[in-house]
Symmetry: C2
Subunit: 252 residues, 2 copies
C-alpha cells in the first residue's frame, strides 16, 4: 500500500517535473550539524524503497542554479537562509540508474543526472527539519552512524567528499562563529575541531596553534559551576575573524 | 565570407550536437600557464563573432563528466594528460543568451547551459595549443593583458573564480613541482608565488615562511653564471612535498 502510494507519487511528480525542470541537472545539499559534541548530517528517508538520500532536487527552467539550491533545501527540509558552498560535481554516467530500475525510461527522475554538491555547517539546535511529501522522515544522522544507514545512489560518496572539503577548509579558514555560544572555553572549541576532523587532538598543540591564529579574545571571566577548575572564557575577535575569513589564515 | 562560414559551421555542429550531447551541461577548462615569469591563461578566439572564449565543450550522453572534460580539452587545444580540478559551477539563467542571439532558438549551442569550471596550472613551455576548426586561434594570453581582451559570455568571471581558487589553494597546499626546473633558487620560487598572487612579496618573509614548510631541500651547489652572487640551489623534498599535498600545509 505504502509502496504503491510512493510509486503513484513518483509518477505524478514525473509529469509535473517535465514541465518545470531542466533535464539532467540536479543539486544535492549536504547540511552538517554540530550539537556542541558531534557532527551530524541531514538526510531524508524516502517512502519509495525506504532508502536514505540527501535532500536534493532539480533546477527550474527559468531559475538561477544558486536560487534552485536554496529552494530545494527549503522545500525538502523547511530550512531557510543557509549559506551553502559548492564542493563538487558528480557526473558518472551510471550514478543513479539502479535506483529507479522498476520504472520505465520515461520517468523524469530516472534519466541521467549530473548533480552539483553544496555543503554548509550549522548549529543543529537552530534547525528543525521537516520532511516533504516524498519522504517518510528528514532528520539528523550522526556521522558515526552512517555506516549502518542504507544510503542510495552515490550519496555516501557525496557526503564523504563534502566532509573532506570541510576538513580542508578548516586548515585555512576560521570556523566556530554561529556554531559555539558567544562565550566559549578552549575545550569547547577543541571539541568542534575534533568533531569535524573525526579524531582527538593533542590539547597543548591545539591551544598553541589556535591562539597563534589571532582570532580569539580572552575574556575577564571564567565558566562557573563545573566540577573542575573554572576554565577561561573566550570569544572571537570579530575584526580579525572576518579578516581571516576573507584572506585565509596562512596567506602569503 | 568568414562570418558566413562560421555561421554554417555552427548550424552544422548544432545538428550533430543534438545527437551526441546532453543538453544544458557544459564544461569550461581554465588552463593557467607559468613561463618562469608570469601567469597566462589558454583562450580560443572563435571565428564566429571574433570573441575569445575558454576552450569549453559539451558532455556526451554516455560519457562520465570527468572523461568529457579531458576529451574537450584535447579536442580544442591538443593538450592531453592534464590533471584538472573542479572549482565552480556557473548556473545563472541568462549567462550565455546574448552570444548566439542572431540564431533562432533551435540552435543547440543557444540553449541554457550550466557550466562546470575546471582549472589546472602547467608549465606553459610544455604545452603547444592547437586550435580546433571553430577557432581562429588558441593561445596563451597573459593575465595582465586580459582587460584588453574581448571575452564572451561570463568567461571573465569564470577565469577570476579559477584564479581566486588557485590563490586560496597555495595557502594550504605546496606548489612548484612540474612548474620549476628540478633545481631552483629561492628567487625563482618566489617569482612563481608572486605570479599567482599578482603582487610582490617581501623577500625575507617569503624565505622564512617557505623554509618553515619543510618541503625544500638545500643542495650543495650554487647557480653559476649570473651577474650577482651565485645563489643557493634547492629542490623539493619529495616525501614531505607529497605528504603536504595529501594532508595540507597547516593541518590540525
Amino acid at each position: 500500500m505504502d509502496y504503491l502510494n510512493s510509486r503513484e507519487q513518483l509518477l505524478k511528480r514525473s509529469v509535473e517535473a517535465k514541465e518545470i525542470y531542466l533535464p539532467h541537472i540536479s543539486a544535492d545539499p549536504v547540511i552538517f550539524g554540530f550539537d556542541q559534541k558531534e557532527l551530524k548530517v541531514l538526510l531524508a528517508k524516502m517512502k519509495y524503497r525506504k532508502q536514505w538520500l540527501l535532500p536534493g532536487g532539480y533546477v527550474q527552467k527559468n531559475e538561477d542554479l544558486d536560487d534552485a539550491v536554496l529552494r530545494i533545501l527549503e522545500s525538502r527540509t523547511g530550512i531557510t537562509n543557509v549559506f551553502l558552498e559548492e564542493f563538487g560535481v558528480f557526473g558518472k554516467k551510471n550514478r543513479s540508474e539502479f535506483y529507479y530500475q522498476d520504472f520505465d525510461d520515461t520517468l523524469f527522475q530516472k534519466q541521467r543526472f549530473i548533480s552539483v554538491g553544496y555543503y554548509a555547517l550549522y548549529n543543529s539546535s537552530e534547525i528543525n527539519p521537516i520532511a516533504d511529501e516524498m519522504s517518510e522522515t528528514c532528520e539528523w544522522i550522526y556521522l558515526k552512524d552512517l555506516p549502518g544507514i542504507d544510503l542510495a545512489m552515490d550519496h555516501r560518496e557525496i557526503i564523504e567528499k563534502a566532509l573532506l572539503t570541510l576538513r580542508e577548509k578548516i586548515s585555512f579558514k576560521p570556523i566556530g562563529y554561529n556554531l559555539l555560544p558567544e562565550k566559549f572555553t578552549l575545550p569547547e572549541l577543541q571539541k568542534l575541531y575534533e568533531a569535524i576532523l573525526g579524531k582527538a587532538l593533542n590539547r597543548g598543540n591545539f591551544y598553541r596553534k589556535i591562539k597563534n591564529l589571532g582570532i580569539l579574545k580572552k575574556l575577564e571571566e571564567q565558566r562557573r559551576g563545573g566540577a573542575h577548575k573554572s576554565p577561561d572564557l573566550y570569544s572571537f575577535d570579530n575584526e580579525n575573524y572576518k579578516k581571516a575569513l576573507e584572506n585565509g589564515l596562512n596567506s602569503w
